[in-house]
């Protein structure tokens, strides 16, 4: 198996792109990544996407984007695993390069959501849940996270306000990210007073829907320096699954898929959580940050929220999370999100994160979650410097 590195990164601003189509968003991110790697050609393209068919009426987007980008003829496919589509696509690209079947591979996440009305998007997102046994009963995706958050509060003795540090930290970090959707810090008071969506999940517990695209170029590490002065090594990429429906889990408050994929990733990289310098969590909702921190071994069960309250998740803390704004404040274009996490990690590990730079960051980890934990992709990257 070959060692794999990221030799180029590219992204578009997350937000409402009413003037751009899905294929244009994809092309801009791909073009930026190819320029960054100083390449004119790729062997294959993996496109992470969840809802192109449902929200834009267009499937078959691997070919659509390859052709639109002037790359007609290459291998190109879409990879889908709900909100975990982005990092799942990275895993497919990683397998192709590590296995020696492709040399220069682009991996993209792209999503176009804001052309549609809110309740249409709410229904589409519910497809990440179990259609016959959750969505049929009127559950929105938000409400499934609300069920988890209520039970977490009940079992571990937290109040809703205790979750605020996750959202406050994400917004504080997004201020300095030019690609983030929001650039305004929030306060505890704003968090407490924010509008309820599905009790106890309110607006400021939740990440916003958005349009976006982010892309990386992968190559064998042996030739990475030919393309980039600062290649970033992929030390691990691992996917694990759990039941889609929360009611089918052995313990709804423990992300078994998150724990298994983290363990696989630690084992691939030969390291443990103590070695990780920063962690991009899948903070679609504040409760998911807590559950992901616990599943990945950064906090004991029920202590993920306490870790945030102690300030350990901020840039100066033990394990900085959502260092460029996270899903909460960078925005959550669902199928693209996993690749934004990867681009942000690579930015940190190249030492290019500006005011948000984590000093001496060497090992960064991301956990991209599909649904409420049914697909979890853990990626570990290492600075090549």
């Amino acid at each position: 198996m070959r060692d794999v590195s990221i030799i180029g990164i590219g992204q578009v601003e997350v937000g409402e792109h009413w003037d751009k189509s899905l294929r244009e968003l994809g092309y801009y991110a791909l073009n930026a990544a190819m320029r960054d790697a100083r390449i004119q050609h790729i062997d294959s393209l993996y496109v992470g996407n969840m809802l192109a068919g449902e929200l834009t009426g267009q499937e078959h987007i691997g070919s659509i984007i390859a052709d639109f980008a002037g790359l007609r003829g290459i291998e190109a496919v879409k990879v889908e695993a709900a909100c975990g589509s982005g990092a799942a696509a990275l895993r497919m690209g990683y397998v192709a390069v590590a296995g020696g079947l492709s040399d220069i591979v682009a991996v993209m996440g792209v999503e176009k959501m804001t052309d549609r009305q809110g309740n249409t998007v709410t229904s589409a997102l519910a497809m990440a849940a179990d259609g016959d046994y959750e969505a049929l009963h009127g559950l929105s995706f938000v409400s499934i996270n609300a069920l988890l958050m209520r039970r977490y509060m009940h079992e571990h003795g937290y109040s809703k306000d205790d979750f605020a540090p996750f959202a406050i930290n994400a917004h504080a970090n997004a201020v300095n990210n030019p690609y983030a959707m929001f650039h305004s810090p929030i306060t505890q008071k704003q968090f407490t007073e924010s509008k309820m969506i599905a009790d106890p999940v309110s607006l400021l517990d939740s990440s916003p829907i958005a349009d976006g695209a982010a892309c990386v170029i992968l190559a064998p590490t042996a030739i990475a320096k030919e393309f980039s002065e600062k290649p970033v090594r992929v030390r691990a990429s691992a996917i694990a699954t759990d039941s889609v429906a929360v009611h089918d889990r052995r313990d709804p408050l423990f992300l078994e898929g998150g724990a298994i994929s983290a363990q696989k990733a630690y084992s691939m990289a030969g390291i443990g959580p103590a070695d990780i310098d920063l962690f991009e969590v899948h903070d679609a909702f504040t409760i998911m940050s807590a559950l992901s921190l616990e599943a990945a071994g950064f906090a004991p069960r029920g202590k993920g929220v306490a870790l945030a309250q102690e300030g350990q998740i901020t840039r100066g803390g033990r394990i900085p999370i959502t260092t460029m704004g996270g899903l909460k404040a960078r925005g959550h274009p669902v199928g693209a999100t996993g690749m934004y996490q990867i681009v942000e990690l690579a930015t940190q590990l190249r030492g290019e994160a500006g005011k948000n730079q984590i000093a001496n960051a060497r090992l960064g980890m991301a956990q991209n979650i599909g649904g409420s934990g049914a697909t979890v992709v853990t990626t570990i990257l290492e600075s090549g410097n």
Partner: protein, 134 residues
């Protein structure tokens, strides 16, 4: 909801019919043919009592398509007395009175209407257990 999909799931939605594992005795709902506890094939039907207690709950203020007119409504995870968790709406109860651990029982209600000429989709909801005669 598509007619065939409606028809093939009526046993589950009307009677709470799941399965029991012939190997380990695990009670399974929703039916899934392979026991999640021991991975043995499990196709023996088993009808649940419909009694349980609230494990968690949430009141929805922003609904998916087809549920807008019911807002706000309360959904829950219910721990059935035979073991499994089930996801369903709560009914016949004021949201502010719902508590984790509250005893509930299954009733059959309309889940949604597919427009004026569409199908009425019936299924299980849960309500607080009524006090018996004194």
């Amino acid at each position: 909801m598509e007619v065939a999909r409606f028809w093939r799931t009526t046993g589950q939605r009307y009677q709470l019919t799941g399965e029991v594992c012939p190997n380990c005795g695990n009670k399974i709902f929703p039916p899934r043919d392979v026991c999640p506890a021991c991975e043995h094939e499990a196709k023996t039907p088993y009808t649940f009592s419909g009694k349980g207690e609230v494990y968690s709950y949430s009141t929805i203020h922003a609904a998916p398509e087809g549920f807008e007119k019911y807002v706000p409504y309360t959904v829950a995870l219910v721990r059935l007395e035979e073991g499994p968790l089930i996801t369903a709406q709560l009914t016949d109860v004021d949201t502010k009175d719902v508590k984790v651990g509250m005893p509930v029982e299954m009733v059959t209600r309309v889940l949604r209407e597919d427009g004026e000429r569409g199908m009425l989709v019936y299924g299980y909801k849960f309500r607080p257990v009524l006090a018996g005669p004194r």
